[in-house]
């Protein structure tokens, strides 16, 4: 049995029915968990298993919500993915477990409007200072257009 299957079996023993979907590739393990168990699964990986390296957190709008994926580990990476609703998207922050998650969560908050609960400072990170509140450029409903020219005679 290879190492990915071992990791997946351990996760299944710890969480059982909470793992909705899983997939393994060479040096990659993907698991899908419900929104409310996301923090719990990350906590298990960080505290119990000692996988404290966070590669990144990615966010993307999919058909039925916004998908957040936390990629943990060195060499073998474990991707914990969860989907949250588009209306009023909220998820618990993992900053107290991994301080490095702070910037990724701020970026996702900027671009997709996801609120990370109990984040120490959910301020603006990548968007311009005069960007309007409540407009999230990586949402599907956002219509991308370049900024209006300051001088006349341009499209």
């Amino acid at each position: 049995m290879n190492v990915e299957e071992d990791v997946l079996r351990e996760l299944k023993e710890a969480f059982g029915g909470l793992i909705l979907e899983h997939k393994t590739q060479k040096m990659r393990v993907y698991i899908r968990v419900p929104r409310d168990s996301y923090r719990e699964v990350v906590k298990y990986l960080v505290i119990t298993k000692g996988i404290y390296h966070l590669e990144t957190i990615t966010g993307m709008e999919v058909k039925d919500g916004i998908e957040i994926i936390a990629h943990l580990g060195t060499g073998l990476s474990i991707s914990v993915r969860t989907t949250i609703g588009k209306e009023n998207p909220k998820i618990s922050s993992i900053c107290d477990l991994i301080p490095g998650a702070e910037f990724y969560e701020r970026e996702i908050h900027d671009l997709l409007g996801v609120v990370f609960e109990s984040h120490p400072g959910l301020r603006r990170l990548v968007l311009a200072d005069d960007w309007p509140e409540g407009v999230y450029p990586l949402r599907k409903s956002f219509e991308s257009k370049h900024n209006a020219p300051l001088r006349e005679g341009f499209d």
Binding site: A128, D129, F142, S144, K145, H146, N147, P149, L150, R151
Partner: protein, 141 residues
């Protein structure tokens, strides 16, 4: 050609401002200043302060965040001021056109005298654009 514009066209001092480029155009500008291409033979010297410069070289697409800084730098330049848009991104915002965080070219924010195309620009193109600009400066009163 008056003596002032003649003198000006023989010693253009350059300031370089990157508005969010990938640094390829910036490296080509630096290559221009090295002995191989040597734009100093035209009297062009790269200055650290915009208050000492006659020509502003702008590279990269103008992002929403950098817009106010670009305007501020432009207003600090002494008259007469010339702006050169270096590279495809600066002339028309290039592949970033239509993106939510950019303006469609430097000329949509400040007036531009010369455009140099290329991605990245070749040093020969920069010399061509500079000699065009110097000719224009020399012809002005």
């Amino acid at each position: 050609m008056g003596i002032v514009s003649w003198a000006r066209s023989k010693s253009p001092w350059i300031a370089h401002f990157c508005t969010g480029s990938c640094n390829a155009c910036d490296i080509e500008i630096l290559a221009c200043l090295t002995p191989r291409y040597d734009i100093e033979r035209f009297g062009a010297v790269l200055k650290g302060s915009i208050r000492h410069a006659d020509i502003l070289l702008v590279t990269g697409p103008v992002t929403r965040q950098v817009r106010d800084r670009l305007l501020r730098i432009y207003e600090q330049m002494p008259e007469p001021k010339y702006v050169v848009a270096v590279g495809t991104c600066a002339t028309s915002s290039g592949v970033y056109r239509g993106a939510y965080n950019v303006y469609p070219g430097v000329d949509s924010v400040i007036p531009v005298t010369a455009y140099i195309s290329g991605c990245p620009v070749k040093p020969e193109n920069i010399i061509n654009g500079l000699s065009f600009l110097l000719k224009k400066i020399g012809e002005s009163k």
